[in-house]
């Protein structure tokens, strides 16, 4: 039996081992650079225990005051995700290479979307608090931009994986590009889109608890107050509330996403 000759790259799996060596090198280099000291974590463990002891006695009487800001957090996440999605759908269509064949256009909008995505949510929150003041409005704006950046990328990558045959078929019947989007693209991606939106909502609920720390409304604001007053018994209640809500929303959205498959 005569087999075709393998190249050296193929025979010694050079790509695989090469990547492995580069990865290990980067790992060692970055550790040397940062001079990480894991012993500090062990040495200061008693500090953590002291904090933990105080939190072991939650102030249950403060629980009713947690409900309102918690709802505010969920509402912020909900509105932010919805607005972000509404902006992201047309944006993703313009960025998808199989819809817009002009590489200059897709390249240009992608650079803009990448720039938006590089802004961390905490920076956005600080910015919007400075512009519109302390409160949930700043949180909603932050989450809108944050969701937009994330959903746009998920969406256009999803659009680029679809079967392009039906797109061609719509054009061949004399349909417009907009008809192609409505008839051939959206039906192919809608269930995955919904799954991505739910996923983004999960992340937004978690993110919005932190945003309050910067004054962008919701439960985070209360968390910050309790910590600055050293009321760790109240902090414990807030953390428990966040844990329950995040778990519940993760569970619900996971359930919904599985049903979509």
């Amino acid at each position: 039996m005569k087999l075709p000759k393998q190249t050296i790259v193929q025979r010694f799996h050079i790509r695989f081992f090469g990547s492995l060596i580069i990865l290990l090198g980067l790992l060692i280099a970055s550790n040397n650079f940062l001079k990480l000291d894991f012993s500090a974590l062990v040495q200061n463990f008693d500090q953590f225990l002291a904090l933990f002891k105080e939190m072991m006695h939650p102030d249950w009487k403060s629980a009713p005051f947690v409900v309102q800001p918690m709802l505010e957090t969920i509402q912020m996440a909900l509105i932010g995700t919805t607005l972000g999605t509404l902006l992201a759908i047309p944006a993703a269509i313009v960025a998808a290479r199989n819809v817009v064949t002009n590489k200059w256009i897709t390249g240009f909008v992608r650079i803009i979307f990448n720039m938006i995505r590089t802004l961390p949510d905490l920076l956005l929150a600080a910015l919007f608090v400075a512009i519109v003041g302390i409160g949930p409005y700043a949180g909603v704006l932050t989450l809108t931009i944050f969701s937009f950046g994330m959903i746009t990328k998920l969406f256009y990558e999803c659009i680029e994986t679809i079967d392009n045959g039906p797109l061609e078929a719509i054009l061949a019947t004399g349909g417009k590009r907009s008809a192609m989007v409505m008839f051939a693209i959206l039906p192919q991606v809608s269930s995955r889109f919904i799954s991505y939106i739910l996923y983004t909502f999960e992340i937004n609920v978690r993110a919005s608890t932190v945003l309050g720390y910067l004054g962008a409304g919701g439960i985070g604001q209360q968390l910050q107050t309790s910590l600055s007053q050293f009321r760790y018994d109240q902090t414990a209640v807030i953390i428990l509330a966040i844990l329950i809500v995040v778990l519940a929303i993760d569970g619900l959205s996971n359930f919904a996403r599985e049903r979509l498959q």
Binding site: D163, G165, P166, E168, A169, I170, L171, A172, T173, G174, G175, K176, S178, A179, M182, F183, A184, P187, Q188, S190, S191
Partner: protein, 260 residues
């Protein structure tokens, strides 16, 4: 058979196509198809059959030459004019190209998209006459009972017949069929070819089909065109076609057909 005094419904003039990577797809194709003909194009894979077909409705841009559809140039048409010309040219694909997540009805109605503004079609506001057209087309291909099913629940043969129904409702002058039977079993292939034949004979549509099967070509064509390495090497009415001719188209030069 074909009446010589009829004006060609497809007129391909000196068409060449060179791909971006420099390979030549078509070289100097000249071809006139008269209304009512059933033209079958045969040739090896990579001979340029699909490229030629896609040049006819401008899914491919040609590098040189013109394609006239009913006397109007589709190679120069833009925007609305291009869409209007494409309405007259239905296409059936090897992979059916249906939206599998949508219903049969929605896929068939897609054949009317060239006649509607997008907001109207998106909301499903199709005219009653067009819905009736869709039902009738599905009845023709024997799939009326599947009208509300999702396409991915149908077999391959049924899917191709939905695609045929989509071409029906488009009410074109020309039907292009690019390897319509390549992914079907022989029995279903005949059903689909019979659909095309009835479009041709009962409704007077001009049909141009790429086929791999010489037997099907001889059974359905009124005229056979042979393509090799991007050139027309054979063009005869069916009564003049011999088996030796067909073998020649495939065997003429074994070094061709390596593209793709």
């Amino acid at each position: 058979m074909t009446k010589p005094e009829l004006k060609p419904v497809i007129d391909v003039q000196h068409v060449s196509k060179i791909y971006d990577n420099g390979t030549s797809g078509l070289s100097d194709i000249n071809l006139q198809v008269k209304p009512g003909e059933f033209v079958v194009i045969v040739g090896l894979s990579g001979a340029g059959k699909s490229t030629l077909m896609r040049s006819l409705n401008r899914l491919h841009q040609v590098t040189e030459g013109h394609v006239l559809i009913d006397g109007r140039s589709i190679t120069e048409a833009k925007g609305r004019n291009l869409r209007q010309l494409r309405r007259d040219v239905a296409m059936i694909f090897q992979n059916f190209n249906l939206v599998k997540q949508s219903t049969v009805l929605r896929n068939v109605l897609a054949g009317r998209l060239g006649y509607y503004p997008t907001w109207q079609s998106s909301l499903g506001l199709f005219k009653e006459a067009d819905k009736q057209r869709a039902y009738k087309a599905l009845e023709r291909v024997n799939l009326l009972d599947k009208v509300y099913q999702r396409v991915d629940q149908l077999s391959g043969g049924q899917q191709q017949r939905v695609a045929v129904a989509r071409a029906f409702v488009q009410d074109p002058k020309i039907v292009l069929a690019d390897e319509p039977t390549a992914s079907l079993d022989p029995k279903t292939a005949h059903l689909v070819m019979n659909d095309l034949k009835s479009m041709n004979q009962e409704l007077g549509k001009t049909v141009v089909a790429n086929l791999h099967s010489v037997a099907l070509a001889k059974e359905y064509a009124t005229r056979i065109i042979g393509l090799r390495a991007g050139r027309i090497v054979y063009d005869e009415s069916i009564q003049n076609v011999t088996d030796a001719d067909l073998a020649d188209i495939y065997n003429g030069d074994s070094s061709v057909g390596e593209r793709q």
